[in-house]
Symmetry: none
Subunit: 219 residues, 4 copies
């Protein structure tokens, strides 16, 4: 068990952990099983990882941070830009329409590419993390998108400020933000690779853009 392993034990543990977590979910996954599968004792696992949460974290932390960075880099600067324009002129609406969604497609492509780079990890977080600290990740991402979408919505509706938003406005904005994230989740959990993902995304963007106009023009 020396010649063959040589520092690969950790890798093996991570692989087996990925398998176990993927099959049973965070809570039902058994560290004993992971170790048995990896051919080591439980003590070995605790040499490499602090605890169950840490083991799971080693599988998903990096991808999550990378994704957060991508989203924040994109949306926060966009929010700043929009805020500077706020209250200015009619072209805001036009801009939102014309450029907003093109932009979205660009970022979406980026996100999808990233999601598939770490497909396994994101599948884990998105569908098997209940019980871990990552179980609310989708919600957290929705929150991040929501600020951006609120601005877009205000512009497209022709509101002069966020203060004009009704309770119904806020509800549908939340839904659309949720749905945007859900689209990404759906793609990464239903497509086998990034190319396929991007291909399907075209229709989904069309769906979402159609949805937006449906909402904006409603009543």
């Amino acid at each position: 068990m020396n010649m063959e392993s040589e520092k690969e034990t950790k890798k093996r543990l991570l692989e087996c952990a990925m398998k176990e977590f993927s099959e049973k979910g965070y809570m039902k996954a058994s560290l004993r099983n992971i170790c048995k599968e990896a051919g080591v004792t439980t003590g070995a696992l605790y040499f490499f990882f602090k605890d169950k949460e840490d083991l799971f974290g080693n599988l998903v932390a990096e991808p999550v941070m990378g994704l957060n960075k991508i989203i924040e880099d994109h949306f926060t600067e966009e929010i700043n830009a929009t805020n500077k324009l706020s209250g200015s002129d009619i072209s805001v609406a036009a801009l939102a329409k014309a450029e907003g969604f093109d932009d979205d497609m660009a970022i979406a492509r980026l996100v999808i590419k990233y999601l598939f780079e770490y497909k396994e990890a994101f599948n884990l977080i998105l569908t098997k993390s209940q019980g871990s600290v990552y179980e609310n990740l989708p919600d957290q991402m929705v929150e991040k998108v929501e600020a951006h979408y609120t601005n877009m919505y205000v512009a497209m509706k022709g509101y002069k400020s966020k203060k004009e938003l009704t309770k119904e406005d806020r509800f549908i904005i939340h839904w659309m933000s949720h749905d945007q994230i859900d689209i990404f989740i759906h793609i990464v959990t239903h497509c086998k690779n990034a190319r396929d993902g991007e291909k399907q995304m075209k229709n989904m963007i069309a769906y979402m853009v159609g949805g937006w106009f449906g909402v904006i023009n409603n009543k």
Copy 2:
């Protein structure tokens, strides 16, 4: 513990189970806790319920079946109707456009009303059932809707038969079916009552209808 309880034990167990499952989710819920809260021993629970799954089932089975009936009553007969029409004439598209969504709003109203009648139960199934046999209920409902939506999609696209459906078509149909169900879930988990739910639903239907046309007219 005799005069006061008398056959109310089961009711009390169900109430406490609802509370425990809602707070901790199916897996983390402890039967011990439920019994302690209900003021009985674990043995009592096993007199009324076969096991943990059965206890959970008693909380949600009826609402689920009721919902299934509503959906099936509506969609299966519609599918039959559509199938008889299949391949016939241009009016199908018109019908889909004109009546399809009106119809959808009607059924949606029905569904929402029903969901809120058993709000607690549906919240349970929809957000706290991981680990139980109900964890895939949303997916199962998506499947049911999908057949109906496939027909609608075929009609609106002007296809002569389902055989013309591409892989991309099937993918977006699946997504839209999923999204339809998600709309219901979103409403029942985010609105406090049926009236509020119906109110928010108008925008969501607009979103969905907009999305459909976005997809149908895409490219």
Copy 3:
């Protein structure tokens, strides 16, 4: 395992626990071992006791409370009595000398009798409780005695109030309080029964009284 046990399992567990704790001390005692010895599974133990601490508590809590009551009943009322006399007259010193120690012998007899009633338990607390919540019990008892002894010391020294106490006074009072408790501990851990304990106690009281006068008359 039914006919023979019949509600005696708890008793058997307590007996085995007493044995295990006495042999290995609180920390090194193994619940597994206790259960094995008692012929039940670990789950059974947890039916009767909340956790390790609770099991230990069941062995010693009652005796401890009883002892506390005896001590408090005796000393707190005596402190009240002394406080009412405070600052009054010379007879206080006389009283302390003449009656103080007689009184002590009376209470000592009471305490010793009680200690031997629960000999095993007190041996446990006094010598094997490290790691449990009872590990500081002797210190706590010292504190209780200390208030009483401070009053006695003040009276015997002829001080008008506690404010006259020097740092050295306080130190020796603490030591003598500690020693008083230690006498009880010594007796219960070195004598086989109450009769023997009382017998030895006479000399120990003589030692303590002699010590007091040695201190009071010092310098």
Copy 4:
């Protein structure tokens, strides 16, 4: 980690061990923690020390041996001297009274000075050694003192030989020996330095001497 450490690793390990043992006691102390604190791996510890017991021993063995030597140098020669005198004349009692306690004060001063020289170590042995081979050190020291005190007691009582000692005599001798050791323990655990220790000791010696006469003159 080379330039700076260079053979200071052992010293660092000992320092960290002292801290850990002092905080948690022998049993609860974690070698892992000690090594982490010292900035080395557990393997390093095992290069310098055989095992946990050996590590603890390295902190306390030398002081313990030193103390033993002081006590033995003093008491054993005294016992020899007394033995030679045994059965001789009345002056023995006088000697015991007059010189015995003066002598005790001298040796006590020596002991206290030594205890404070290795204050940390003795605090460790005296209050944190449960679970290690040193846990009975106080008892061992009591044994050593006991032989000496037996002789003193015989002399003061005017017995012609040890054979006259009753069970009660032996009991109170054991207690007084125990108390003598306890006085040292109390001082080293309650005083901050040797000067303070010696100061408080005067009263304690007065207490002990008073106690002795109380016992000798009893009944």
